[in-house]
């Protein structure tokens, strides 16, 4: 029977969530296409991961090799392209993550297999493989069809498919000998580094005021920081604010920043790109202020204000101060 592959992503001893999200979507797709769901796992001494995965997939293909201890696209591509050539899966799912974007495009070229990236939905219908993706920072969706092929590769957006465990699948763990006879020469993993933290831990704050590019200038930040203080909270931000050096990187909320879950998140001048939303959508109460009524942030906020943030901040600050007496 043909298969759907899900490439397991793990780092520092942990299987990453996107893997289980892909396994859940993969199970649905396998059901519809009459294929078997197969988790593909590379690493060094990762049998414990294989056990966990066997609950979620019909097969677990396990390749162990010291050269696969840390993610390295050169090593991963060699091993995964071998497996795809041999077993010809209908589809290989890879996370649209820092690992996936480093691997999938070159893998697809080397195999001559069409690739669609950052998919938020995938569907096989009448031999046609259609994906849904977003463009223009999430302002539009597109349905795109992949060129007809024997096998496809897709990278999947994180935190898009909810994880459902379902009945354990008691998958068979199949150990495959590593094909990596030679050294990996062009690319070498050295180490993980965590940039030194600043003074504020936004993940611990109960109230966060998040600022985005709408703040326009560094000199506009202090009044907003005062609002955060009046609310007993801290200032957080979207990525461009850190890129510009206006706030330290540990204030950044989102996929490449922190994930926060405060009681209140006020988003000021933030468009609501998916990478930002990923980091704050589980906040208890979200209020967004944005000039653009179509800004995607209004799709995650509980309350929205379509207005210039500079007109809202001063009266809001004084109203809160009044309430506090």
């Amino acid at each position: 029977m043909r298969e759907i592959f899900v490439l397991t992503e793990h780092r520092q001893g942990q299987i990453r969530d996107v893997t289980f999200e892909m396994l859940t979507k993969g199970r649905e797709l396998a059901g519809k296409t009459n294929t078997e769901l197969t988790a593909v796992l590379f690493g060094k001494e990762v049998k414990n991961h294989a056990k966990i995965l066997s609950d979620y997939a019909k097969n677990v293909l396990l390749v162990e090799d010291a050269k696969l201890e840390n993610f390295n696209s050169e090593a991963y591509q060699k091993v995964l392209s071998n497996l795809i050539r041999e077993r010809k899966p209908l589809l290989t799912l890879i996370g649209h993550t820092s690992f996936g974007v480093d691997l999938a495009p070159s893998l697809a070229v080397s195999l001559g297999t069409p690739l669609a990236t950052d998919c938020v939905d995938l569907e096989f219908e009448d031999e046609k493989f259609t994906v849904t993706r977003q463009m223009y920072g999430g302002k539009v969706n597109v349905n795109a069809v992949l060129r007809k092929a024997e096998s496809y590769i897709a990278t999947v957006r994180q935190a898009t498919f909810p994880v459902e465990k379902g009945a354990p699948m008691n998958g068979e763990i199949i150990e495959v000998p590593s094909p990596l006879s030679e050294e990996i020469t062009k690319k070498r993993f050295v180490e993980y580094v965590l940039p030194p933290p600043g003074g504020v831990d936004i993940t611990a704050a109960e109230v966060l005021v998040g600022i985005g590019r709408g703040i326009k200038d560094e000199s506009n930040i202090p009044p907003v920081e005062e609002l955060a203080k009046v609310l007993g909270g801290a200032l957080a931000c979207s990525r461009p604010i850190v890129d510009k050096g206006w706030l330290p990187n540990d204030r950044q909320v989102g996929s490449s920043g922190r994930t926060v879950k405060p009681k209140l998140y006020i988003a000021l001048g933030i468009s609501g790109a998916f990478q930002h939303v990923l980091g704050m959508k589980n906040s208890d109460l979200i209020i967004a202020v944005n000039k653009d009524p179509k800004a995607p942030i209004f799709g995650v906020a509980d309350y929205g204000v379509v207005e210039d943030l500079f007109k809202i901040v001063p009266p809001l600050k004084s109203k809160i101060q009044e309430l506090k007496g």
Binding site: R11, N72, E74, S98, V101, D102, A104, P105, S106, A108, S110, P114, L115, A116, T130, R133, Q134, M135, Y136, G137, N141, V142, N143, A144, V145, L146, T185, K186, K187, R188, V190, Y192, P195, R239, V242, G245, N249, S256, G257, T259, S271, L285, K291, D292, F298, G299, V300, A301, D302, Y303, G304, V305, V306, E307, I312, L316, K319, I320, E322, L323
Partner: protein, 262 residues
């Protein structure tokens, strides 16, 4: 150190109203402001910084229409030495794969030690062109680069991972690096620089000069084909608070009070 930077001319859409055009497969481009793709702005700056440190040349290259000259001029003004635009009606409808193939065909005959691209384009968001280009050229790559250190023929890089974590990797040159925002501070251009850049030549090549067949570019040469574009369905929509700023502030304060947040 000869560096090639791939740049794309993209519409600014964060603050603009987006309409889908008559084909149902693209947005209405009229009235939108175009500029260099945000990520490419950082890639170009990084190339110029490396040139200033190690010498060599910077070549900016784009696949796009004549309008993209504004982006190439910006690159020249900011320190690029040469600029090339690849333009042909047949290139229209190209996905990331076809774009990378066009770029690879031209770049393979140029001298280079390094190719820089953006991590992704702000319009299509494929995040594939740099890595496909590397594979087509048979050279290594690293994506989402936030720091570059050069030692002889090896680049020591910080790659951005999730949750604030980074990894350090070493990659043999020549290589393609895809650059992440925040790696540097793109400089402003002086009026002198802009004036000088207006006089520089932009090399323009079409399908025949690039040396590809019609079916290797555009939709025919692509992996994916756009079928339909639409405004995302709203699963949840915020309750909008209306009134004067003063009235809105009162409403927000009341909500916060009711929830025990003040």
């Amino acid at each position: 150190m000869d560096i090639i930077v791939c740049v794309k001319h993209v519409p600014e859409t964060a603050e603009a109203e987006i309409k889908i055009d008559g084909t149902g497969k693209a947005i209405e481009k009229n009235g939108l402001v175009f500029d260099i793709n945000e990520w490419d702005d950082y890639a170009l700056e990084e190339a110029v910084l490396l040139k200033e440190k190690f010498g060599g040349t910077v070549t900016a290259i784009t696949v796009g229409s004549e309008d993209a000259d504004s982006v190439l001029r910006k690159c020249l003004a900011r320190g690029a030495d040469k600029a090339t635009r690849l333009t042909d009606p047949k290139f229209e409808g190209s996905d990331g794969y076809a774009i990378a193939r066009i770029l690879a065909k031209v770049i393979k005959d140029l001298p280079f030690n390094m190719i820089l691209t953006g991590t992704q384009a702000g319009d299509d968001g494929y995040a594939v062109v740099g890595v496909i280009l590397a594979e087509l050229l048979g050279i290594p790559h690293a994506t989402m680069v936030k720091k570059i250190e050069l030692n002889d023929e090896v680049a020591k890089l910080n790659r951005e991972l999730e949750g604030g974590l980074e990894e350090i990797v070493e990659v043999k040159l020549p290589a393609v690096l895809t650059i992440q925002t925040g790696i540097n501070e793109p400089r402003y251009v002086s009026i002198m620089g802009t004036r000088k850049a207006m006089k520089k030549e932009i090399k323009v090549l079409g399908l025949a000069e690039v040396g590809l067949g019609e079916n290797e570019v555009g939709e025919a040469g692509s992996w994916i084909k756009m079928e339909k574009m639409y405004v995302p369905p709203v699963e949840k929509q915020a309750e909008f608070l209306k009134g004067s700023p003063e009235e809105i502030a009162v409403k927000i304060a009341e909500i916060l009070k009711a929830k025990g947040l003040v």
